[in-house]
Each structure stands twice: as structure tokens, then as C-alpha cells.
């Protein structure tokens, strides 16, 4: 469902990763690992279409993809429910009632998002994924600030509601998500050569 071939990415003109390839069949997740600054965020942004790869190709149903970044994009002046319905509207869905249970948000439904704790906010950010129901997810450190229980909520959402229905996911994380069967890709070996100038700098060399 997701096919990445020999992709190379750069950040602000500095090459970051190169030669990354992987395949992901429906129902599978890929965990991106690697030390800080290796380029996980950059790779995910590229897959999500926010920046162009400098080399290589990736194939997947673009209209089925969604991206979740470090930042949650939650509006502090809207309630949790309003935040989620906005995303539902944008993606032409409605907010399914089960979402409140999936992410343990029942009690927080009508709280202003600005008054949530770090982890509660993050849960709302993740609930967005359940609302938009896209098949191809690119997630950047989704479990930051979450306690152990919430991490479990997230993994069971991924396993039972996303992957089980034929979704795929590429997830950058530093912790163990408990998605036992997921493939892992350590990006360390793909770090770009220092001497490879970027496409646009190359012209001046």
C-alpha cells in the first residue's frame, strides 16, 4: 500500500537522509527509530507531501493519507468537541461516538482545550486520527507526554481500529509502543553523506 524507493530528503538545503526504501502492506505499521536529529521528522514531512524529496519516489493513495506532527494543532479557545468536529467537517466525516471511549475523553468533551494538561491535549490530538479515518498515517512522536495507560489506549487504537481495518502507519518514536508485530526501521545507516551538496546548492559548486 505504501512503497518508498531510495528516497533522499534534506532540511533547509542540508541533506539529511538518503537511500531510504521500504514497503508497507495494508494492515502493517513501520516504526522509525534513530537518534535525535537523524531526520525522522524530515522524512515524515516529505512523505506527507509538505516538502519534496530530493531523490527517489514514494507511492501511496495520496487522498488517503494524513499527517500528525509534533504539534497538535489544537485550538485552545475551542472545546474538545468543537476541535474534533472541525476536523471531521474538513475531512467530510462526522465525529463517531466511540471516539470518546477510544481515547478516554468522555469527561473532557466540553472542556476548552486550553485548560487541558499536556497529556490530555495530546490525547485530543490523537483522537483527531480516529475522526478523520484515513488509511495512511504519518505520525511524529505521537506518544510524547502520554502516561502508560494512554500509550496503551493509543496502541490498541492503532492495532484494533486502524491496522485491523487495513490501514498502514509510519510512526517516529523513541519509546516502545507495544505494537508487537510492527516492523522497525532504524534510520542511522541512512544518514546522508556530509559531502553531498543539495540539488540547489550543487549548481554553485
Amino acid at each position: 500500500m505504501l512503497k518508498v524507493r531510495d528516497i533522499a530528503v534534506e532540511r533547509s538545503g542540508v541533506p539529511v537522509l538518503s537511500g531510504v526504501s521500504f514497503d508497507l502492506a495494508a494492515g502493517h505499521a513501520l516504526i522509525l527509530r534513530g537518534p535525535n536529529g537523524i531526520g525522522k521528522t524530515t522524512l515524515l514531512r516529505t512523505l506527507a507531501g509538505l516538502q519534496e524529496p530530493t531523490n527517489g519516489t514514494c507511492e501511496f493513495p495520496v487522498d488517503q493519507a494524513a499527517y500528525a506532527s509534533h504539534a497538535d494543532g489544537i485550538k485552545t479557545a475551542l472545546t474538545v468537541r468543537e476541535n474534533l468536529s472541525f476536523w471531521a467537517d474538513v475531512y467530510g466525516n462526522t465525529v463517531p461516538d466511540v471516539i470518546w471511549d477510544w481515547f478516554d475523553l468522555g469527561d473532557l468533551r466540553d472542556r476548552f482545550a486550553g485548560t487541558l494538561s499536556a497529556g490530555q491535549k495530546r490525547r485530543v490530538g490523537l483522537a483527531r486520527l480516529g475522526v478523520i479515518s484515513r488509511k495512511v498515517l504519518f505520525l511524529d512522536e505521537p506518544t510524547v507526554s502520554l502516561d502508560g495507560f494512554s500509550v496503551k489506549l493509543f496502541s490498541s487504537f492503532m492495532r484494533d481500529h486502524h491496522l485491523a481495518h487495513g490501514g498502514v502507519a509510519v510512526i517516529a518514536t523513541h519509546i516502545d509502543l507495544g505494537l508487537g508485530e510492527a516492523q522497525t526501521l532504524d534510520l542511522t545507516p541512512f544518514a546522508a553523506q556530509d559531502d553531498g551538496p543539495s540539488d540547489s546548492d550543487e549548481a554553485f559548486l
Partner: protein, 242 residues
């Protein structure tokens, strides 16, 4: 039992409940008498004709506009020093009443200005300082509205009210310096020489009394509403946690 006890929200609700209808009643009577007397039982002015009768709305509202700010200043100080919630809420409650008084004074003045000075507005010092007062009210209310947490809002608006008062005084002086005006000088004073003639004076006094009472009644009413809103909020917060 100290006087402060009456400022406890529950006590306050207790004693204001019965007082409120009387306050409104008295305000109604004074206003009815004063305005009727003023509008129908006094002669037209020899220069200004019947337009002079606007004075019965204009002067009382102008006085109350200033006094409302004074009251807010006192209430803010009490909140900062003694942290009495009712005091903060009373200041909050007085602002919309005060700004309405300011607006009434401005609008009646403008309407009066057209026949008197041939223009709705002139940058006369008195008028100008009222406009500035209006801005202060607006800022004060906007700050209340912009902050969710009631105690934080009370603290911040109190500081604003105090700093604002100093600058309002400064503006009053500045404006006087900046432009010599068209507007009447003070005509209500203990010094009889300067006063308007008695025919206008007594109904005016009754109207002023009516406005004072109306102000008190409205502020009490609104303070009660604010207390209820706070109570509701407290209950909701408790709800959220259970």
C-alpha cells in the same frame, strides 16, 4: 460582626434580595417625578427654547458616568487589599452601567450640541474627556471579557483600573490645556451665584437622585447576576471533576 461580613457572597445575596425592589422602586419614582416635572412643568429657556430640557438626562448621566468609575476604583482597591469577591464582581458589574451612562451623556450632549453649537461634536475638553472615559470603560470591559479565570481577571482589571485612573486624571488636565471649550462650566455648586435658576434646579436634583438610585439598583442587580454566574461556574467545575 464586622462590616465586611455583608460582603460575603451568601450574605450579600441575602440582604440585597429584599433591598433590590425598593431600590428600583425609589429610582422609578424619582425619575418619573423628576422627568415629568422637568419636561412638562418648567418653562422653556429664553435662549435655548425647549432643548434645555435635555439637561435632565444629560447632567445626571454625566455625573453618574464619573461616579461609576470612582466606585469601580474603590471596589478594585478593596479587592486587591481584602480580596472580597463581591467587591471585584461589583466593579465588574458597574462597568457596563458606567459605560451606558457615559454613552447617554455623550449622546444627549451630541443631540443638544446640534441646536446649541450647530454641530453634533466638537473637541471641547469636557466632551473629549468623556470620550476618553468611554475608552477606559471599553478597555476595562474588554480585559474582563478576555480572561477566563475570574480571579486573574479581577486582579488584572483592578490594576488596570488604578493605573487607568491616574492616566484619566492626567488626560482631564491635558485636554483642558489643549483646547478652550464651548461647554458650560459647572453650574451645580454650593455657591448659589453660579447656579441655574431654581425652576430648573429642583427637578434636576430629583433627576440626579433618580439616576443615583437607578445606578445603585442596577449595580446590585448585576452584581447578583455575576455572583450567580460565579456560583454556576463553581458548580460546573465541581461537576467536571466528578
Amino acid at each position: 460582626m464586622s462590616l465586611w461580613e455583608y460582603a460575603n457572597p451568601k450574605k450579600f445575596m441575602g440582604w440585597t434580595g429584599p433591598v433590590l425592589p425598593w431600590a428600583f422602586g425609589a429610582a422609578g419614582v424619582c425619575l418619573a417625578v423628576g422627568l415629568f416635572w422637568g419636561f412638562f412643568l418648567t418653562p422653556d429657556d429664553y435662549r435655548q427654547g425647549s432643548t434645555v430640557k435635555i439637561i435632565y438626562l444629560h447632567v445626571p448621566s454625566a455625573l453618574m458616568a464619573i461616579n461609576a468609575w470612582m466606585m469601580m476604583l474603590v471596589a478594585s482597591l478593596i479587592w486587591l487589599v481584602r480580596r472580597h469577591h463581591v467587591s471585584a464582581l461589583a466593579a465588574k458589574a458597574a462597568a457596563p452601567v458606567g459605560i451606558t451612562m457615559t454613552l447617554i451623556a455623550l449622546m444627549t450632549g451630541a443631540i443638544w450640541g446640534q441646536p446649541m453649537w450647530g454641530t453634533y461634536w466638537a473637541w471641547d475638553p469636557r466632551l473629549t474627556s468623556f470620550l476618553i472615559l468611554f475608552l477606559f470603560y471599553l478597555g476595562y470591559m474588554a480585559l474582563w471579557a478576555a480572561i477566563d479565570d475570574p480571579d486573574t481577571a479581577a486582579d488584572l482589571t483592578s490594576v488596570l483600573c488604578i493605573v487607568g485612573s491616574v492616566f484619566a486624571l492626567l488626560s482631564r488636565y491635558a485636554v483642558n490645556f489643549w483646547n478652550q471649550g464651548l461647554h458650560q462650566g459647572a453650574s451645580l455648586s454650593l455657591d448659589k451665584e453660579e447656579n441655574v435658576s431654581d425652576v430648573f434646579f429642583f427637578p434636576l436634583l430629583v433627576c440626579i437622585a433618580g439616576f443615583v438610585l437607578l445606578f445603585v439598583a442596577l449595580v446590585l442587580l448585576r452584581t447578583r447576576t455575576e455572583i450567580r454566574a460565579r456560583r454556576l461556574r463553581a458548580l460546573q467545575l465541581r461537576e467536571v471533576r466528578t
